[in-house]
């Protein structure tokens, strides 16, 4: 039994992918000698050399665009955007080309690009270092988007993303990089497109992803002490989304609360609520609840706990659903 931080597990996923597939390349800002600002690429350049693991200029659109060209030359690029808001200079390349290119060439070229983005808040970060960009990417046809919540599943999701023949955005929760999990790195398990039920319960289903999963598990413990049995779903894959698990949990518990850090309006919670309504309307006993960040820019460190969904807000929403 080993103990893994998420940063360490992601590092191991990159290490193993580089080892198994000689066409895998890892590049981005500071991923080489420095090992990445979150140390996710630590030691990779020493092991695999500057040919396969290399620093780029500060050039996000160039990184994403070069990755597209590398796919035409038969390579499998794994790139890092250093922080969530710093992925925005590459948005044109990602939306217009990474996402659409396979379609544009009628499948004659696969675009197996993995774009890793340290994401979300909760680490008292500077401005532009706490954003939740998932809706931008999940709304873009042609992209797959995943967000791990724990070290071992982060290993699995990153391995799946790199192996996937389509472009995958991996939103890594910065707040969980140093959290530890004991166990063996999984060689199999749920795929991209599949959610996990992390805790069973019968009264209400709490749906979350990324760093909010831990907070939802904490809330479930509090709810249990108050006699409410909460089921916890880790969505993992935001696009495609696991309709089967959402529908089953909605039918079985009759109540659903979705939790995310991103602003509420048109956030991923709206999609979860719509799908639950479409798939399990007759089984619902309460409106789908949304516990989210507010419709404001991500706040400064001193205010972030007033922005992020708290255990208290999650419990309140769950109790409101149960007592509806």
């Amino acid at each position: 039994m080993s103990e893994w931080t998420m940063s360490g597990a992601l590092n191991r996923a990159l290490y193993d992918a580089l080892s198994e597939d000689p066409r895998v390349l890892v590049f981005g800002e500071d991923v080489g000698r420095s090992g990445g600002v979150f140390r996710v690429t630590d030691g990779l350049q020493d092991e695999y050399g500057e040919r396969r693991v290399f620093d780029t200029p500060v050039s996000e659109a160039g990184i994403a665009g070069a990755a597209v060209g590398l796919c035409f030359a038969g390579w499998r690029p794994v790139v890092e955007m250093q922080f969530d808001a710093f992925s925005y200079p590459a948005i044109e390349q990602v939306v217009d080309h990474v996402a659409k290119m396979r379609m544009r060439v009628r499948g004659r070229v696969d675009i197996p690009i993995t774009i890793r983005i340290p994401s979300f808040g909760g680490i008292k970060g500077k401005e532009h270092h706490g954003e939740s960009p998932e809706t931008y990417y999940a709304h873009t046809a042609g992209l797959k988007v995943v967000a791990p919540s724990s070290a071992l599943d982060a290993y699995r999701l990153l391995r799946l993303a790199i192996a996937d023949p389509d472009p995958v955005i991996v939103l890594e929760p910065k707040a969980r990089y140093w959290s530890k999990e004991s166990g063996e790195l999984p060689a199999d398990g749920p795929g991209i497109g599949e959610a996990r039920v992390l805790r069973d319960g019968k009264d209400v289903t709490l749906v979350a992803y990324g760093a909010m999963v831990t907070r939802v598990l904490d809330a479930a413990t509090v709810l249990s002490a108050n006699g409410v049995s909460a089921r916890v779903v880790d969505l993992r894959s935001l696009a495609p989304m696991d309709d089967e698990v959402l529908a089953r949990c909605a039918r079985e518990t009759g109540r659903v609360v979705v939790v995310h850090e991103a602003p509420r309006s048109l956030g991923l919670g709206a999609e979860v609520a719509a799908r639950v309504m479409e798939l399990a309307f007759d089984h619902l006993q309460a409106p789908v609840g949304r516990v989210t960040g507010w419709d404001v820019p991500y706040p400064p460190a001193a205010l972030e706990q007033h922005y992020l969904p708290s255990v208290e807000r999650i419990c309140d929403a769950a109790l409101a659903a149960v007592s509806y």
Binding site: G62, G65, V68, L70, P77, D96, V105
Partner: protein, 353 residues
């Protein structure tokens, strides 16, 4: 209000043939007479097809079409210099280069027919990337492809086409910078045709585009883009340099967009007919034809045969374009993912009824 680009002093471009078809430089560029005649043949075919495409658009058989009249030498001369394994990343105005590369014109024109977005032809088989409308975004693709070539230690080279307007975009800068830092086997080929829709180059950039190369740490060169021999020589030099592992080159080919930006554009709103008439005096086809005839490398019968072939070619393409049907509805879905999710599959079934 008309903003006429001032000719200004500027840097004299590399030139072999004067606008009236006289050799002012070394016309022995290493091409056999057969190849020289091919250059003229492709320029004549390309112009004839370009005009046919504009007619097809007016007749409702193509959607908006971007003509390239006046730029035949820039495209044919540079494309002719490429090796079989070299890879091109075009904009949406490189039909002449596509023809030279062997791209099937009817397949290419599916893009403008509105039956497919991107590259209806096979980009890997033709070594010609998908048609790219977002300005300058193909240049980072070219840098990435060139990086792949370098990592694989091939001796093939990448060439990216773009226009003067593209050089105002960040993607041009990022790609050029990557090319310099990574010393890529990449030729950055700018067709400076004087206009980005209605904005003249003088309002696009205050400097000379070719000079920017120095800032990226590699050579730049300005060439007369209406002189097919000069374009061929300058491109060949840049390709050879890249092939030897000596890195990228930025070429600024000075040419002129004789027609509108596209069939949806009305240039009379922003430029004078007299400017266009002036530019026509530097016509790339007339110049090269004059020199070929006077140098004895071709005769009038060859020129006439080219024109006849171009008519036949254009008519064949016309028939092919008109016969191109709408694609099956399922193609909206079928190429997006190599491994689609189940909800996507259900949506596909819903769309197909």
């Amino acid at each position: 209000v008309s903003h006429v680009p001032e000719p200004g002093p500027g840097t004299e471009p590399v030139r072999i043939l004067s606008p009236d078809g006289q050799a002012v430089g070394d016309a022995d560029v290493g091409l056999e007479p057969d190849d020289l005649r091919e250059l003229l043949r492709w320029m004549i075919i390309a112009r004839r097809l370009d005009r046919e495409c504009i007619a097809l658009q007016r007749q409702g058989e193509l959607t908006v079409y971007p003509g390239f009249e006046g730029q035949e030498a820039a495209q044919v001369g540079s494309a002719w210099a490429l090796g079989a394994d070299d890879f091109v990343w075009p904009t949406f105005r490189e039909l002449a280069a596509a023809l030279v590369r062997g791209v099937d014109a009817v397949q290419y024109l599916q893009y403008h027919r509105g039956t497919w977005h991107g590259g209806p032809y096979d980009p890997r088989a033709t070594r010609f990337g998908p048609i790219c409308i977002p300005i300058a975004t193909q240049i980072p693709h070219a840098a990435g492809y060139a990086l792949g070539q370098k990592l694989d230690a091939t001796d093939a080279v990448t060439l990216a086409y773009f226009g003067d307007g593209s050089t105002s975009e960040g993607d041009f800068h990022e790609a050029a910078n990557l090319a310099g830092v990574w010393d890529l086997p990449l030729v950055l080929f700018c067709q400076n045709n004087g206009w980005a829709i209605s904005v003249p180059t003088s309002r696009q950039t205050a400097g000379e585009i070719w000079r920017r190369a120095e800032g990226y740490g590699f050579p730049g060169v300005r060439v007369d883009g209406n002189d097919v021999l000069a374009v061929y020589v300058v491109t060949t030099t840049a390709l050879d340099r890249a092939r030897r592992g000596e890195g990228p080159t930025l070429i600024e080919a000075m040419t002129y967009r004789i027609g509108a930006h596209s069939t949806a554009d009305d240039p009379s709103r922003y430029r004078e007919d007299s400017d266009v008439e002036h530019a026509r005096r530097a016509d790339p086809i007339a110049r090269f034809r004059t020199w070929l005839l006077e140098s004895g490398h071709a005769d009038q019968a060859f020129v006439s045969a080219c024109s006849e072939e171009a008519d036949t070619f254009a008519m064949d393409v016309r028939e092919g374009v008109i016969a191109t049907p709408a694609p099956p509805v399922e193609w909206m879905f079928d190429w997006l993912y190599a491994a689609p999710g189940s909800a996507f599959e259900r949506q596909r079934e819903e769309a197909l009824g």
